[in-house]
């Protein structure tokens, strides 16, 4: 394995690890969300009326497993092609 191939392998693995890291950090969601529920402060009247806290949707991207797997698949495919290309180039020049 030459230097370019090693860099390709390292970059590919790093990209996959980062993608899975972001996915894990954002809560291991199965599907990607573009909003999250935010709990709103409860007023005294609402408490007297027996109302539980309300929730509001706010824009917030949360990476899901489906996109993470797609990213990993693309990175693996690109890395495989690059590894193959770099191997061939080395042979052609030698």
């Amino acid at each position: 394995m030459n230097k370019k191939q090693k860099i390709t392998l390292f970059s590919g693995l790093s990209a996959i690890i980062i993608a899975f890291g972001v996915w894990a950090f954002q809560g291991f969601h199965l599907f990607t969300h573009d909003k999250i529920e935010v709990r709103l402060p409860q007023s005294d009247v609402d408490k007297l009326l027996g109302q539980p806290p309300r929730y509001e949707w706010v824009n917030h991207f949360t990476l899901g497993l489906e996109y993470t797997l797609a990213i990993a698949a693309v990175v693996i495919a690109a890395s495989t092609v690059l590894l193959f290309l770099f191997k061939n180039k080395k042979k052609a020049f030698s």
Binding site: L30, F31, T32, H33, D34, K35, I36, E37, S43, D44, V45, D46, L48, L49, G50, Q51, P52, R54, Y55, W57
Partner: protein, 212 residues
């Protein structure tokens, strides 16, 4: 003389039975509450839990009215609460669009989801201004009507400086939780049961005013 005593005893029993099935608040007579809130503070929730996914949804576009005799809720409670089908949000825009599409709730053809009170089957007094009400109502979804049992808690607040901070008039808080089966409402989809549960938990947390 015996007849008079019987009438007296029955009157007392009737009075206390009726009294115990209503609120003990300042307001009297028949009151009607509207749940239309332009600020969108009234909320209904639904939850679907399967092994693959949990979906939480909300709708803040609630409307409808409920009326009852304050002292005799058990025998006079009637009304209807509805939400607009298109207002349901689940946190994923694409999923919200799917939910409104014909293959799920078909918001264009069936723009509202509603619950109409049919009869009260029991009332438990939790406090002077709080009742737990067991009722049967007609749930309308996806063009199909089914009767379902619902337990709701009603909290009555007479108009005061505290209630005015929310809106004018006497306020009625309603909390209810119940379940529906989507398949019983004609919702048939390939992923029903896998990614979306057939059994949906519904929560209603709304406040109405009698000045509207």
């Amino acid at each position: 003389m015996r007849t008079t005593i019987k009438i007296f005893i029955f009157s007392i029993l009737f009075f206390f039975t009726a009294y115990s099935q209503g609120f003990n608040v300042k307001a009297t007579g028949v009151q009607t509450f509207s749940f239309k809130d332009d600020k969108g503070r009234n909320q209904t929730t639904f939850t679907s839990i399967t092994e693959l996914d949990e979906v939480d949804g909300t709708s803040n576009d609630v409307s409808g009215t409920v009326s009852f005799d304050v002292r005799n809720v058990a025998n006079t409670l009637k009304g209807e609460i509805s939400i607009s089908t298109a207002s349901i949000k689940t946190g994923i825009a694409m999923r919200d669009r799917d939910l409104r599409a014909p293959k799920w709730l078909d918001a264009d053809q069936f723009p509202t989801i509603s619950f109409t009170i049919k009869k009260v089957t029991g009332v438990t007094k939790l406090a002077d201004n709080k009742l737990q009400v067991n009722l049967i109502g007609t749930f309308f979804l996806h063009g199909v009507k089914n009767d379902i049992p619902v337990t709701a808690t009603l909290t009555y607040l007479d108009e005061s400086q505290v209630t005015e901070s929310r809106e004018p008039g006497d306020l009625l808080g309603v909390n209810a939780k119940f379940q529906i089966m989507l398949s019983k409402f004609g919702v048939k989809n390939m992923i029903l049961g896998s990614r979306v549960a057939d059994k949906i938990d519904i929560g209603v947390n709304i406040v109405g005013t009698n000045k509207f």
